[in-house]
């Protein structure tokens, strides 16, 4: 039992079996979250540090709660309150945390590959909580858990993802993870937000929102980073909403029992109209709960590997 690697760097590094083990474990962890006494001893005596070089609300909080529900000692470092601003290198900072006896370092960084860079230098397990445009594996795992609770299998399921594909680490992790389990992923966004060669990751490039969403079993919207408008990736918010949003009409093209997901935070009225965000098919709020469950599973399985040694 447990993950094969010391670190969770991305979905690229996980096998289909490991993904399923995380999802099955997360289902159990979800029972803890819904119980009256949210306390287990899975991480008792372990220490967990979150090291975030980028802003985050839900990812950071859910990792923190996940580790606390399982009894670990946890601490946080943010870019504004540490020596990061004094120009310390990433590796020096990571080594410093490592040498304080930390078991798990959960890192978010604006540079792709940053966790891959530090992990081999550290005794602690490194969990990637989002690196640049590369991966956000625990987001993909929580998305997959949300699907897994509704599907008996991923095999042959159609997953539609619409929005800023180029900059999205959520898309990359989902595309890799879902493909490994046999799902079919379609993506669509403005050409200015489509990366070259994305089809080589096993996804289908759709022609339109309608083409992407049609017959989907699950539909995922992505957050539009509004500052990208200044970089001429799209002309205006209203034009984006008009041509690229997932409207009720678009959602109606998906399978009748399809559900709507979004990694949050959502720009209401841009990528999703508020009516869609709140519709019966929306599972966006449940994704948040699943985020805690999946992170409990990941932290536990990383430490289970340690204990096996």
């Amino acid at each position: 039992m447990g993950l094969k690697s010391k670190d969770l760097l991305g979905m690229k590094q996980l096998t289909a079996e490991e993904i399923m083990e995380i999802l099955d474990t997360a289902k159990t962890m979800k029972l803890v979250i819904s119980s009256a006494n949210k306390k287990t001893s899975h991480l008792q005596g372990k220490s967990v540090v979150t090291l975030f070089y980028e802003n985050s609300t839900r990812t950071r909080l859910s990792f923190e709660l996940a580790s606390k529900y399982m009894g670990s000692a946890s601490a946080n470092i943010s870019t504004s309150g540490s020596s990061v601003n004094k120009g310390e290198s990433l590796l020096d900072t990571a080594r410093t945390i490592d040498m304080m006896g930390t078991d798990i370092i959960i890192m978010r960084h604006n540079q792709s590959g940053a966790p891959h860079f530090i992990a081999p230098h550290l005794k602690a397990s490194v969990v990637n909580a989002g690196d640049g445009m590369n991966e956000h594996p625990t987001q993909a795992l929580l998305d997959m858990l949300t699907m897994y609770e509704r599907f008996d299998t991923f095999e042959g399921k159609n997953i539609a993802i619409c929005g800023d594909i180029y900059h999205s680490r959520v898309v990359r992790s989902n595309a890799i993870g879902l493909s490994k389990l046999g799902a079919k992923v379609s993506v669509y966004g403005p050409k200015t937000m489509m990366p070259v060669g994305i089809e080589k990751m096993g996804v289908r490039i759709a022609d339109s929102v309608a083409d992407c969403v049609r017959d989907a079993d699950a539909v995922m919207g992505l957050r539009v980073q509004l500052e990208r408008q200044q970089k001429s990736l799209f002309p205006s918010v209203s034009e984006y909403a008009h041509f690229y949003a997932i409207t009720p009409e678009m959602l109606a093209l998906a399978k009748p029992d399809a559900f709507l997901m979004h990694p949050g935070p959502c720009n209401h009225g841009v990528e999703l109209p508020t009516a869609v965000y709140d519709c019966d098919q929306s599972v966006i709020n449940e994704q948040v709960t699943n985020g805690v469950a999946v992170r409990m599973a990941v932290l536990y399985l990383l430490m289970a590997r340690r204990n096996n040694l």
Binding site: S89, Q111, G197, M201
Partner: protein
């Protein structure tokens, strides 16, 4: 001082001996007259190599490399002449800096150093530099290298003004408005989430420079070509009679962009490693003569500047000590070109483009030579390099063409003949 090299194959000559008297190649003399007889162990003697594109880092970046350390590294690679780019600190855009570089080079006395002056003041692409005064101080060409001249009007003035002084213009072709990335744009960059640099960024500026050269009838030299489109346009331009020449580097015919997959910044340089399609085109360009020269773009960087996040790491890799062996192993051994053609690419052609007059091995010519072991495989070991830096991607590669001896002006600058 009289020296005889024995037990060697001599490039282009039917002899197994080389005679050196003082700084020059000499006519044969008796063994008894020699001060030293060097047994070359069957190695092949070729003219000392010429690198038309490198970075020695001095002045200003001595923590990466100095003129002394990097020319020692060049000598180990079989180079006897090197041309450092002007992106030093201060920038080599005036005669005083050029004189300083030449003074240090003379003190080190490992290589002939032919500096390349900045094409524009401060390599900022705005005002043309004091090319005439720098030529008097010793430059052999002008370039803004890593800071390509983006304004076509300024590029025109650089071409026109430099031609008054018969100074070649070497341009690093990259439209920076398209190239905010850290590696080649393609499926690998997409998969690992690194911003990409499209081949179009290079091709657009190559096209512009060919058009300006053709319109003005002034030569232009394209630095480190890495793209299929670049090779095609240069081939077509040469066929029309445009005075365009170009170089490539060993990394563009030995490696592809998938090596960046693990975020190892020793595979990060500008232009970036491309896909196999482009590597094939570079090899084809070398084979058919479109590509005139192989340069190293030797670029030492401190480990602090390389051992960090991929997109933050600086661009460039070491080249001197691996270039010949890579050319020999990947081009000659594989039957793409002959050894003669490789020596043309790494000695005669760059010497001709920059009018250095190097490469002669007749009596009275400067005794510049390198001896390579072409028969035995060796493992390239980064810990044995003489460069001050360590940023090579070739550590552990098995290659042919290890340097046994380098002689510059009759003086041994590198020797491994124990």
């Amino acid at each position: 001082m009289k020296t005889i090299l024995t037990n060697c194959k001599v490039f282009g000559k039917d002899t197994d001996k080389i005679y050196i008297d003082g700084e020059k190649f000499s006519k044969p003399f008796k063994d008894s007259e020699a001060d030293e007889i060097i047994d070359c162990k069957g190695g092949t003697v070729v003219p000392g190599l010429v690198d038309m594109h490198c970075h020695l880092r001095e002045p200003g970046f001595e923590y990466k490399g100095t003129i002394a350390t990097e020319t020692a590294s060049a000598a180990k690679g079989g180079y006897t002449s090197v041309c450092p780019m002007p992106n030093t600190n201060p920038v080599a855009d005036n005669a005083a800096v050029i004189s300083g570089i030449l003074k240090k080079a003379k003190e080190a006395n490992n290589c002939r150093v032919y500096p390349i002056g900045a094409a524009t003041k401060g390599i900022d692409g705005d005002q043309i530099s004091e090319m005439g005064l720098m030529k008097e101080a010793g430059i052999v060409a002008v370039s803004d290298d890593g800071h390509p001249i983006k304004n076509a009007g300024i590029m025109r003035k650089v071409l026109e003004y430099s031609s008054d002084f018969d100074l070649p213009v070497l341009n690093h072709c990259e439209d920076k408005s398209l190239s905010e990335g850290a590696m080649n744009e393609g499926e690998v960059s997409t998969c690992i989430g690194i911003r990409g640099i499209p081949t179009a960024a290079e091709d657009i500026m190559i096209a512009r420079d060919i058009i300006l050269s053709e319109y003005l009838n002034i030569p232009v030299h394209i630095c480190h070509v890495s793209t299929k489109g670049g090779v095609r346009m240069i081939r077509e331009a040469k066929a029309r009679g445009v005075k365009v020449t170009c170089e490539t580097c060993p990394h563009y015919f030995t490696m592809t962009d998938d090596l960046c997959e693990n975020y190892d910044s020793n595979f990060k340089m500008h232009p970036p490693l491309r896909t196999q399609e482009h590597v094939d085109a570079i090899i084809e360009g070398i084979k058919d003569g479109t590509i005139d020269a192989i340069a190293t773009d030797h670029a030492p960087h401190h480990s602090d500047e390389k051992d960090c996040e991929f997109s933050v790491a600086l661009n460039g890799i070491l080249g001197f000590e691996s270039a010949f062996a890579l050319g020999y192993t990947y081009l000659v051994k594989k039957g793409v070109i002959t050894l003669e053609r490789l020596i043309d690419l790494m000695c005669f052609a760059p010497s001709k483009i920059l009018k250095l007059g190097r490469g002669g091995m007749e009596e009275g010519d400067d005794a510049d030579l390198a001896v390579f072991d072409l028969d035995h495989e060796f493992v390239f070991d980064k810990n044995k390099m003489l460069s001050k830096s360590l940023n090579t991607p070739y550590d552990g590669w098995k290659l042919y063409g290890e340097t046994l001896l380098t002689v510059m002006g009759g003086k041994k600058t590198y020797e491994k003949l124990q």
